[in-house]
C-alpha cells in the first residue's frame, strides 16, 4: 500500500489532510486558500446536493441565481445592523489588464480601468438578494419568497484546511421573505429540521440542534439555529445554520409590503446554508486509519465487484467477468451504484487497499472456486467483516447490507458522541475533561458574554449551542458561580 496514512491517534490533523489527498477528494491549488475538488470528492458533493435540493423543493423552495459581485455600498447599508460582519473579502477594483509597456511578456493592471465603486466577491448574498427583493415585493400577495441559490462564495481566511475552511467554497444559501414574524420563525426552524434530517439520515452524522449565544450568532440575525456534530478527535463542527433575520435586512434595504389591510410593513426574513464543509464532517465522523468510510447513501460507488483474474487463464477470466457483470446488473436493478474492476494489471491486494482508502462500503470478490460454489466473498468497509454469500438473492442481500451499514455507522457515531458528552459542575472538571477526553461539555453558564469570553480565553472552548431540548434547571455557572437557568454545550471547534 503506497498511500499509507498517519494514524488518527498520533496526528489527527495530518491524518485528515493525507486522507483527503490520497483518496483523491481534493487538493490545494496554486491559488492561496482555494481548493481543487477532484472528481471523486465532487461526486460526493453531487450526491449531497441532489438530496438537499430535493428536500428544498419538497418544502416549496425554488432555485435562482444572483450576481457574484456585491457593490461596496450595499455592504455599507448592511453594516448598520451587522457591525460584526467580517471585512476580509476579495475586492475587485479594476476591470482590465494590459501588456506591460516595459516588458511585453508581462501583464499589468490597467490604471485607466479603475472601477468607480469597488465590487466585493460575495462572502454571502443577503445584501445583493435583499436589495433585489426590494423590487420584487410590493404587496402581501408577493410573499412569501422561498428562494435558494447554489453558489460559490469567498471569504479571505488566514488559516485554511481542505473542505473545512477554504477561501472559496461551494454552498447553498436559502433566502426567504415573509409577511409575518411567526411564518419566518417557522421557516427558519423547518430548514433547521431539514438539515438535521439530511445530516443524520444521509450523512449518518448525529447532530445536536440548538441556537447560538449572542456572541456566536450571525451578525444580521435575531436568532441563529445551528446543528453541531462531534468529530472523532473530540472537536465540534458547526455543520449548518439557519437564521431568523427578523426585519433587519428589510430595514437595511427598505423592503416593505402592503398588508391585506392596506398597511405598510417591513418584511420578515430568514437565511440558511450548508457548504462543502459537510464533506469534511463526513470524513472526520466515520473514516479510519485505512482511509475513508462512506455511508452508503453518499458513496459514489456503493459496491465494487472484483473478479479474481489470472493472466494465464483467459477462458476462466471471461467466465468470472461475465458473472461479475451479471451480479452488477442485478444490483443495479435495486438502484445500487456498482463498479466492476477488471483491471488485470493490478494485484488484488493493491486493489483492496485502494478501495478501502476510497471508502467503498461493500467489496465483493469472486474467484474460480466461488464460481463453482455459486457464491461470492463480501467484505464490509466499516467493520471489515467478511462473509461468503450465495449469488442467488444477492441483490436483496446487498441492498439490506447497505441499509445495515448506513444504520450501523449512524449508531456508532451516536454512541461516540454520547460517550464524549460530559456534564461537569466545576471549572477544574471542565478543563480536565477538555484536555483528556474532549467532546461536548455540558455546563451551567451565567448567560453573559463576559463569562463566555473568559472561558474561551482560558480553554479555547466556545459555546457551540444552547440545545433546543435543554431543560430549565437552576444551577450555578461553572466559571463565575453566578446563577444559571440551563446547561449549554461547550467544545473546542473547527
Amino acid at each position: 500500500m503506497s498511500n499509507k496514512l498517519p494514524k488518527r491517534s498520533e496526528d489527527f490533523s495530518l491524518w485528515y489532510n493525507e486522507l483527503v489527498k490520497n483518496a483523491q477528494l481534493a487538493d490545494n491549488s496554486g491559488v492561496r486558500g482555494c481548493m481543487v475538488i477532484k472528481p471523486y470528492g465532487f461526486a460526493i458533493w453531487e450526491l449531497m446536493k441532489e438530496q438537499l435540493d430535493k428536500m428544498f423543493k419538497e418544502t416549496g423552495h425554488q432555485n435562482a441565481y444572483f450576481p457574484i459581485f456585491v457593490p461596496k455600498s450595499l455592504f455599507e447599508a448592511e453594516e448598520k445592523n451587522a457591525e460584526g460582519f467580517a471585512k476580509e473579502c476579495a475586492v475587485v477594483t479594476h476591470y482590465r489588464l494590459k501588456t506591460d509597456p516595459e516588458d511585453s511578456s508581462k501583464l499589468i493592471v490597467d490604471p485607466d480601468a479603475k472601477l468607480e465603486e469597488e465590487l466585493i466577491v460575495r462572502p454571502t448574498s443577503e445584501a445583493i438578494i435583499w436589495s433585489t427583493y426590494k423590487g420584487w415585493v410590493q404587496s402581501y400577495r408577493d410573499l412569501p419568497l422561498l428562494i435558494n441559490q447554489w453558489a460559490n462564495v469567498v471569504r479571505w481566511e488566514m488559516r485554511t484546511r481542505l473542505f473545512l475552511r477554504t477561501t472559496e467554497f461551494l454552498w447553498q444559501e436559502g433566502h426567504t421573505a415573509h409577511a409575518t414574524k411567526q411564518e419566518a420563525i417557522a421557516e427558519a426552524r423547518q430548514m433547521h429540521d431539514v438539515y438535521e434530517t439530511f445530516t443524520q439520515d444521509w450523512m449518518a452524522m448525529p447532530v445536536i440542534k440548538g441556537y447560538k449565544s449572542d456572541s456566536e450568532r450571525f451578525a444580521g440575525a435575531d436568532d441563529t439555529f445551528t446543528i453541531e456534530a462531534l468529530m472523532q478527535d473530540g472537536k465540534a463542527l458547526q455543520a449548518g445554520t439557519s437564521h431568523f433575520l427578523g426585519q433587519n435586512f428589510a430595514k437595511a434595504f427598505d423592503v416593505e409590503f402592503q398588508t391585506a389591510e392596506g398597511k405598510k410593513e417591513y418584511v420578515w426574513g430568514t437565511s440558511w446554508g450548508v457548504s462543502t464543509r459537510l464533506i469534511g464532517g463526513l470524513i472526520m465522523t466515520h473514516s479510519d486509519d485505512e482511509g475513508l468510510v462512506l455511508p452508503p447513501k453518499l458513496a459514489p460507488y456503493q459496491v465494487v465487484i472484483i473478479p479474481f483474474l489470472n493472466k494465464k487463464k483467459a477462458e476462466q477470466n471471461e467466465m468470472l467477468i461475465a458473472k461479475a457483470n451479471e451480479i452488477r446488473d442485478e444490483l443495479v436493478q435495486f438502484g445500487i451504484r456498482v463498479q466492476v474492476d477488471t483491471d488485470i494489471t493490478k494485484r488484488p491486494g493493491f486493489k483492496f487497499a485502494e478501495y478501502e482508502l476510497k471508502g467503498y462500503p461493500v467489496r465483493m470478490v469472486i474467484g474460480p472456486r466461488d464460481l463453482e460454489n455459486d457464491q461470492v466473498e463480501i467484505a464490509r468497509r466499516d467493520t471489515k467483516e467478511k462473509s461468503l454469500q450465495n449469488i442467488d438473492g444477492i441483490g436483496t442481500h446487498v441492498n439490506d447490507l447497505l441499509n445495515e451499514i448506513q444504520d450501523s455507522l449512524f449508531n456508532k457515531a451516536v454512541s461516540f458522541r454520547d460517550t464524549h458528552t460530559t456534564e461537569v459542575t466545576t471549572f477544574e472538571e471542565f478543563k480536565d475533561i477538555l484536555d483528556t477526553k474532549g467532546g461536548f461539555i455540558s455546563a451551567h453558564w451565567d448567560g453573559t458574554e463576559e463569562t463566555e469570553e473568559l472561558i474561551k480565553d482560558a480553554t479555547k472552548a466556545t459555546i457551540r449551542c444552547i440545545p433546543l431540548d435543554a431543560k430549565e434547571v437552576a444551577g450555578v455557572c461553572v466559571f463565575s458561580g453566578k446563577p444559571s437557568k440551563r446547561r449549554v454545550l461547550f467544545a473546542k471547534a473547527y
Copy 2:
C-alpha cells in the same frame, strides 16, 4: 393583459428584453452587466443542465471544481500562445475592507491589504486547469483526463443583454487531456456532436455544424468547432464551441507525460462549453408576440390544467378541482410536468394570457359542461389550436401531443432557417440579402483574413463557420474575385 409585449416585427430587440422580464426569466441587477436569473428562468437552466450533464457522463466525463481565481502570472504563461485573448476581466487587488476613519458609516479598501499578485476572476479556466493538470499527469496511464466543470465566469463586457451577453454568466466547461492528437480531435468532435444533439433534440433549435475561420477561432486553439443557430430576426447565434487545443496549453503549462515506450511528450487537449446564452437562443428561436414558446422537453411545466371556477358554486368547484387533480395524476404517470391552477381570484382570461406569456406548451381547461361530457379543452401554445378531448386516454393523448409539439417546433425552425439561407454570387446580392432578408448567406470566400475583415467593415457580417458538410466546389470570392474552394456561411451575429 397587463404585460403586452412589443411586436417582433417592429422592434425585435425590445420585444426580447420585455419578454425576458415579463415572463419572469431574468432581470438586470444593481451590478453593472450582471443579471439575476429568476426562478422560472433558472428552472429552464436546470432542465438544460440535467440533460447536458447526463450526456457528458454518458460519454465518460466526470465533474470537478477548480478555483474561481486565476493568478495573473498564469495568464502571462498563456499569453505566449494566446495573444488575442481579451484582457477585459474583473481584477481582485485587495483582500480587506475597513471602516472609513473619516466617516464611520462608510467602508474603504484597506490599503494595507494589497495582494502581492493580482487575481483574475476566471473568464474561462484553461489556465488554472492546465496548471493543475501538470501535477496530475506523469504517465500515459494517467490519461485521458475527461473533466467537466459547471461554474460561473466573468468577462467585462461593454454592451450586455440578458442571457446573450452578460458580465457574469453560468456555463459548463469541459477540459480534457489526451495522449494522442487523434484522440483529442475525436473528443472535440464528439462534444461538437453532443452539442448538436442537445440543441436540436432538446431545444428544438436547428444548428449548422462547422469550424471557425482563423480570425474567429479561440485564441488558444488549433481548431474551433461551432454550432450556429439562426434567430427569428435573421441574426446568427453562436450556441456552443468545442476546441481542439493541440499541445498549446500543454506547452504553456509544461504538461508532459511518459509514453508506453518511455518517451516524454506533450499532452493534447480540448475544451468545450455552452452557457446560459442558450436560454437566449431558445427564446429567440421559438417565441412569438404573445410571449414565450417553450419546447416541451425544456418547459418547467409542460401542461397547466385550469378548472373553470365560479365563486358562487362551491360544490361544482370541488368537483372540477377533483377532476383536474385526477387528470394531473394520470399525466404525472407519463412523466409529464403538470401544474393545476385553482386560484379563484384571477379571471380565466388573465390566466390564459399569463400562461401564454410563460410558454406552457399545453393548456387544458375544464368547465362544468366538460365534466358532464367527460372531456377537456386543450390548447397548444405553439399553433394556438384548440380541441376537445375525451378524458379517457388523456395521458396518452397529451404525451403524444407534447412529442408532436417538440417535433413541430423543430421543423418550423428548420424551415425558417432554410428559407433564410441564401446562396449569393455577387457582393451586391450579398449586401442586398443582408439588408432585406437577413439570415445565413452562403458565399465563396478567398480564404484570407483581409477579405473577411473588409466584408465585416462593409456589412457587419462575419463568417459564422465553414460548414463541416461544405463541398469542395471551385468558385470566385464574392468580395475579391479571387479563387475560392468552397462556400462559407456569413451572417450578422449576436
